[in-house]
Point group: D2
Chain length 314, copies 4
């Protein structure tokens, strides 16, 4: 800690190994927010977050959701059930897969292709058409497959372009993934503290715990709608305890310091529907819906003033 | 004014003449609230209210609604459009009609029966069956009919029992009205000031101005429902300007000093749906619905505290 | 009956006496719908409706609501509680009050002015300013006041212009009412039968019976909103049995033969919220809201066809 | 095909290899529904479904959701985007992981433990505590790990108990998974046809496509609520095309042949919110909520009859 303070550099944990999309996202966030940082790869999302919780790192950068696969389960579960952390920033990284080989490798020599099972799901079509004889080998991450190629254990890896330069590999074929315009959203997590100041284009993330009886999700969504709050994301997660009972991971336009957002968060607390406030932070993509007339800070202030005047007989 | 202050007696206006249900209601309210008062009959509801607005009276007692006829139009219109006054108390008076005659009058001698047209609507059946030959004479009020009987201008009047004693008449037949258990609700109006302190069993009266587009009443009613506020009355009134556009006169369980009621009133103000707050005052009949867990003052305080802690990073 | 059939003329009852706004409305409706009719004045709204119920008249024309006073209580109560009749047409009549006198009467000679109490409510301001010394005399109807003027019993009457010609009176001052653009809506009632064919610009009238518990009106209004049905009128009426319990008189855009309206009416029946269907008939003023895409007859037919195909495995 | 017909045995595809939870579910379903079947392992969920689509198999059994991980992405995507199939039955299988070894293997000899990454997620805790030195090896499925143990390529596998008997392995430690009471829900898919007859305790599965504007999910959920239809599952899936746009996978109490369900499905079609009806089939766990009075078949039939009588003037 002392060292970091003297150098002024922050230390961020991320899901390693080196060469992952997460490293790319971390560097993009650091450039935007703080300038140079020390990046520390961790063996898993949970280990990266523990670095922050224990104070060994200032922040952790982890994948939150993919436009193809949806929520990243381990991140969701950590944010929902682990020791609380706050989202303070987000970044979007386009997800493309290159077929990486050791320099000089010929396509005809490829007998094994490594990737994480999710990566394999993305290149299955390409592989069946172009390298039907190659064996698909599962690895713990796409970057691990690249490392295995560098070590001579595999012939090729499907991985992020950044992994190629990291492990001294060559891109044999670029962009072999099936889904065009795939993108992953990363978040930067810190220990709970005052949220970043509102910018006018912010997002608030919440975990809702919605009762099992009919209409309860309807009621909770009504709390947002009646305050003009737009939801940009609503994903269910099973509760782990009982099939058919869900948490909902919600992203909403606005900052907890906006009166309308503070109002809806208080309403969710009163209804015992808010499991966690996960943070309020600047949006990195898109802009908030225009705030309805009845939900602006001015509308709130004027209404509150009027009610207080009537209560006092003024 | 000086005189009232020296005697300590309040002066209340009411819709006269003497001998009306309104006088009865005024006396009941005075007994409950203030002790002896000076009661000043006024020629109309509007004149009674003007006594208060100009400061010549401390309060006015007027009929608000009847279990048979619904809202009293002139009272509703005065509360909606006139110079603002606040409801500070309410009283319920059972409405019964006696057939009143000069002492000694025989039933066979009755050729004319006076009453306000509303009164006649109540006794039409009885009259057709029992005095089919008698002529129904319309008067400006039932008490005016009683006065006309006393003056010898009519043979009988259908009026409140109190009118009999007031004008020296005799009850020939009691309770000739058609509707059993008819009751009228009266309210006591004062110049705007701090509302009476909450008692735990209060009512709040509002005038809503609901836009003409589909779903707008639905939205407004949703504001009450989502805060657990029970409505005991919802009456529409035409706006006077355009057929098909309505105000809604609403009574709701709770006091403006209750957080849930303050919350819904603020929401109505923000939506420009609140034309007027008409007052918060103790209920004189019935008890409030049990407050939902999510709408208690404690639930509000705890949720507000939590949001503030998060905003400050505490 | 035989005579009517041979002449082809219908017999309609209306609230008399002659010279009322209702007579005006009846003549306008007859002209639009049937050609010449025999008009039979009745002594009350209830008596006019009984003429139809017993078959002595083919139809009855009665006032339904006024832009100033709102619903006409006796009409509402008859439609809600009386032996069922159906609305088959509507008409709007502008309501203006003329001050009518015997020909040659001078303004200075007016000592008494007759009108129904509702009429007096409309001219109170004019009378106070222009004839402050005149006595306001209540009569059973404005036309009755005109008749009394013709008979020499009163000096002047505030009544419909048509009453002047009917009783040989002269208009001393035109349009003495307080509310500009006042208009009354009249309806033509017949014995229950197939409703008039849809015209594409129809109205459906309903009486809702909404339970007393919180949210029940909200639920019922949601049935209309979710089917894109626009309400042009929503008026509450006390139930006569218990203060705080209401019926709601509703006018909605559309015809019972439209699938969306049939759908919402069926939903109200299932919820035991429909006390009565009062009829579906052409609108005489204004045009329906544009039907939402999801509520058109085509949308209904296609969706029903699809569901049936799935059910059959087709 | 001829062969199957002559033997009367059906051929079902499932996600192999042999020894998976899916095989267990298939056998349980066959026992309940059809008697002996020929089970054909397929290399992936997609290949299993293609067997049905091309007519080579009568049905396919695949995992739909896990109480721990939520929806199975590939199944959801196939049901949402692939050539349509219908769910005709469901089964629940408890998910437990045994640590499987070759007979005679000692715990101290375990250097590598194979499992699918999801399986590793379940045993991570146990492994860290009990076999901290063992290497976690990712395989394409847990059963593939068991096969690799049998082949001598790995020392141990975490897999379903059924995999032990299938591959001649021994359970060294039973139930090493982290989540108690984990259960997976499997569904049986067939080519589109008439759904199984209603049993009174059925489930209907749907894919909703909910517009991106605020309140659209609220509106769609309101269609279910207003018809008394209980949802037992609501899971979001990204649309693959745009971050922030979701499909919703919904399970609801009831059968498409129930009037209330047919009604809500038609409403979803009209709103262009129904991407797919995935089938109506008997529930294998739990019982439906009691149907509200206003949503029973009787309530529907009576209301429809009444509306038709009114339309005809009957």
């Amino acid at each position: 800690m002392g060292q970091r303070e003297s150098t002024g550099r922050q230390r961020w944990a991320y899901l390693g190994p080196e060469g992952t999309f997460t490293e790319q996202a971390s560097r993009a966030l650091a450039e935007r927010l703080t300038g140079p940082i020390d990046l520390a790869p961790a063996g898993s999302v949970s280990l990266a977050l523990d670095e922050v919780r224990t104070g060994r790192a200032d922040a952790a950068c982890v994948a939150m959701e993919s436009s193809v696969e949806g929520a990243v389960p381990v991140t969701q579960d950590e944010l929902t059930h682990g020791e609380p952390l706050l989202i303070t920033a987000e970044a979007y990284v386009p997800v493309t897969f290159d077929l990486l080989v050791r320099p000089g490798t010929d396509r005809s020599a490829i007998r094994t292709v490594g990737a994480h099972p999710h990566g394999h799901a993305q290149i299955r079509g390409w592989l069946a058409a172009e390298l039907p004889a190659a064996e698909a080998v599962m690895t713990a991450s796409n970057a691990a497959a690249a490392a295995a190629v560098a070590a001579g254990e595999l012939d090729a890896a499907a991985a992020a372009p950044v992994a190629g330069s990291r492990y001294g590999l060559q891109t044999l074929v670029a962009d072999v993934g099936e889904v065009r315009d795939a993108v992953t959203r990363f978040v930067l997590l810190r220990r709970p503290d005052r949220p970043p100041a509102p910018t006018g284009n912010d997002r608030t993330s919440l975990v809702l715990s919605v009762g099992n009886h009919p209409g309860s999700l309807l009621t909770v969504l009504g709390e947002f709608a009646s305050r003009g709050i737009n939801l940009t994301r609503l994903e269910s997660r099973p509760t782990r305890s009982r099939m058919g009972v869900y948490y909902f991971l919600v992203d909403a336009d606005g900052h907890l310091n906006d009166p309308a957002m503070a109002d809806v968060v208080a309403a969710l607390i009163r209804r015992q529907a808010l499991l966690r406030w996960l943070g309020s932070y600047p949006r990195a993509a898109g802009v908030n819906e225009v705030t309805a007339d009845f939900a602006t800070p001015d509308a709130y202030r004027q209404a509150d003033d009027q009610v207080r005047r009537w209560q006092r007989g003024g």
